[in-house]
């Protein structure tokens, strides 16, 4: 039940700059999807449709938002840092680090990375969600990945 929500939340976290922004974004996207439900074509992929709605919602909100640095609170993600032991803490720290690196990417690279690396979409599917040609997707993706490798200390 509610099978898509966890993936939508993950995608929202990959786009947004903080966990609380991510859940706001998720809420906005679900609301929009409910309002626009008649536009979904049965037989097409609901997840792609939802990704597209969320991505558009993110563009609408993120670009209006100030770029002031936000405090990242990994607990908000649902990782109970307090008593969950070292592994959970490590996971929270790792997520925080990756989210910070993602947040530094230009939007067009971040959305490509979010769809392909985080959500695991094929290039073709990601290009369809973003409504861009494959070549545009791959060039944004490769630049985004190179930047992430530099920031996260992965030699390219």
């Amino acid at each position: 039940m509610l099978a898509l929500l966890p993936r939508l939340r993950r995608f929202a976290h990959a786009l947004a700059r903080s966990p609380s922004d991510a859940d706001d974004l998720c809420q906005t996207a679900v609301e929009r999807a409910l309002t626009a439900r008649a536009q979904w074509q049965p037989g097409t992929r609901l997840d792609s449709w939802m990704y597209r709605i969320m991505r558009n919602a993110w563009i609408d909100t993120a670009r209006a938002r100030s770029r002031a640095a936000q405090t990242f609170v990994a607990e908000e993600v649902g990782l109970t840092v307090g008593d969950a032991g070292d592994r959970a803490i490590e996971a929270a720290v790792e997520l925080d680090q990756v989210m910070r690196a993602m947040a530094r990417l230009p939007d067009e690279q971040r959305e490509a990375v979010a769809l392909v690396l985080v959500e695991g979409l094929a290039y073709k599917e990601a290009a369809a969600v973003l409504e861009i040609p494959m070549g545009t997707l791959t060039s944004r993706l490769v630049r985004g990945r190179e930047a992430l490798m530099r920031q996260l200390g992965e030699a390219a």
């Binding site: 993950r10 993600v77 649902g78």
Partner: protein, 229 residues
């Protein structure tokens, strides 16, 4: 031979066709630096995917779940010339968003679905039709069972056609779990796909799910008598 960064990345992601992949493999064999770049792409992919994975595994915050179960709080009803829609609608759509299907826009006040622990489950008239009707003897019922069969797990599944919703439901512990739904035939609408035994998309889906042949009339009655188990 030079391999551009996009192609190398696509190779690392398994996105190249076999011919192009072979070409990259030859280049990699000749140049350890390329091999290292491929490895770096894969490490990054694993790391990014892994670091976001806990989010998809974490419980969804209550407010998002609430949003889907109580859409009347959040769905703005625009004052334009649209009939006020039944709120059950929103609930049904919310549920279908969650499981990847969409119930037709003709849901009647007696909603034919409810949300079970693992997805949509037939209720009301639909559940009754699935429980009681036999494909051979149902006459002119509003919801018609088209064909019954067993899926690969051995569960009894039934393809049904109604005005609001047509689909395929399979018997589970909790009732008739809706595996597939499509918009039904509708009442006053002519632009809708005709539901019924000839709905080709639905029958193709049934065909895919089916293990062996559909149940004949005697087998269907026997399954009915066993409580569809």
């Amino acid at each position: 031979m030079t391999i551009d960064p996009e192609t190398l990345m696509a190779y690392a992601d398994g996105e190249l066709d076999p011919v192009a992949a072979k070409r990259v493999e030859r280049a990699i064999a000749a140049d350890p630096a390329l091999a290292e770049q491929v490895a770096a792409h894969r490490r990054l992919r694993t790391r990014i995917a892994g670091s976001f994975a806990p989010i998809a595994e974490a419980p969804v915050p209550e407010r998002l779940v609430t949003l889907l179960s109580k859409p009347d709080n959040v769905v703005p009803l625009r004052p334009r010339a649209r009939p006020r829609f039944d709120l059950r609608w929103g609930a049904a759509i919310a549920a279908s968003l969650a499981i990847g299907i969409l119930i037709g826009p003709m849901l009647k006040p007696a909603a034919p679905v409810r949300v079970g622990p693992t997805g949509l489950v037939a209720s009301g008239d639909l559940a009754r039709a699935l429980d009681t009707q036999l494909a051979a003897t149902q006459g002119d019922a509003p919801i018609r069972v088209i064909v019954s069969f067993r899926d690969s797990s051995g569960a009894i599944c039934r393809t049904f056609a109604g005005r609001a919703t047509s689909g395929i439901a399979c018997w589970e512990e909790d009732g008739w779990a809706l595996r597939r739904t499509v918009s039904g035939a509708g009442e006053a609408r002519t632009d809708y796909r005709q539901a019924g035994s000839s709905d080709p998309a639905l029958m193709a889906m049934a065909q895919d799910m089916m293990a062996g042949a559909p149940l004949d009339a005697a087998q269907e009655r026997a399954a009915h008598d066993r409580g569809w188990r």
